[in-house]
Symmetry: C2
Subunit: 215 residues, 2 copies
């Protein structure tokens, strides 16, 4: 069994785990039973030895010469990532981004359940978006304490971002998925994962410049 | 002068460059003239030696004992990333995500100009979103060839994602910023930068599980 000594796993490996999961899900869907580290490396754009090194953090999945069992490896990675814990989430701010996430993102792939969305706009409270009820933002604390919510998806405006994060933390939330393009200040016992759109766009510009320069 | 030998820079450093830029912009805004590698490291959550190592890829910015000049360093990083090239972009698909980007993202920070958005929905064609005209998707090729467009921001549905990417490539586009949660297949001369929402959510779950396990 892979150990749970997660602290020792480097951030670079953790960044690759969701990509492994995506590839393994596709392989499982196409009924591939086993894959070698060479085969997996080719799909992932990594060397076979990088693949073996990544997986060595979690114990042994593969058998020399037989490759990895696709479904077992996928389930083990999902477990290592905590996707089997069925976290409960709420979404704060039902503007365009919030709506897009509720309507188009398959949260079940990640084992996350969106219980409710919160907004301050009177005309939205009481409606639902893709089956998720929109509740009054003033009731966030009462709701979270009664329902046990782990994750807040912060989709409010940049101006309200820090305040919304503080409300969520006061309500006992332990993780914030941050879409506000703002750096949030939170206590040490709260995890923040940022989607910084500009960072991604700037990486694109870097690789584009690099390609154009080398022509 | 920093060299342009970009190929030698590791992806991990490139991933950090936008974060450096964000921090340096904030320092410049608060009139900080110089910062030491220790000071910058503290803000970035890195050691002073990691900072010095990252910047060593680009030549020397700092002077031993005097720290880095904030504005000069910021401008040099922006140049290295190609943000001074004023890339022209179009946005494909004006659903929730596309609208959110047009309305809320400050593209000027990254030196990108959004010239037009494209959609197939008759009722949207001819309108504008945050000052950006919405044009007929059938005119994409003609438009790009006439106007010289570098980047396509792919915000169409997952089902149309690959087809939209192929149209963009045929129209001469060299880079795709991909919001479709789909793996795109493109020729080697085209750069793709993905925003995979589920990958980010799964990282959040990993770090949350890790924190809860260590309590």
């Amino acid at each position: 069994m892979p150990s749970r000594k997660k602290k020792m796993i480097s951030d670079h490996v953790i960044t690759r785990l969701p990509a492994y999961l995506r590839v393994l899900n596709e392989l499982a869907a196409s009924d591939t039973e086993r894959i070698s580290s060479q085969g997996l490396g080719k799909i992932m754009g990594l060397t076979a030895s990088q693949i073996r090194q990544d997986f060595s953090y979690f114990g042994t999945f593969g058998q020399q010469g037989y490759g990895y069992q696709v479904v077992a490896l996928r389930n083990e990675i999902a477990k290592i990532m905590g996707l089997d814990r069925n976290y409960q989430a709420v979404l704060l701010g039902t503007g365009n981004i919030g709506q897009a996430l509720l309507e188009h993102l398959d949260f079940s792939v990640s084992g996350v359940h969106i219980k409710a969305a919160f907004d301050v706009r009177r005309e939205l409270i009481g409606t639902d978006i893709a089956g998720v009820p929109v509740l009054d933002a003033h009731d966030l604390m009462t709701y979270c304490q009664a329902e046990g919510v782990d994750i807040a998806i912060n989709c409010v405006s940049a101006e309200s971002a820090q305040r919304a994060a503080e409300h969520a933390v006061e309500a006992g939330i332990r993780a914030i998925w941050n879409f506000t393009n703002t750096v949030l200040t939170v206590p040490d016992h709260v995890v923040v994962e940022n989607i910084f759109f500009s960072d991604s766009l700037q990486r694109l510009e870097y690789y584009l410049s690099d390609m154009l320069d080398s022509e």
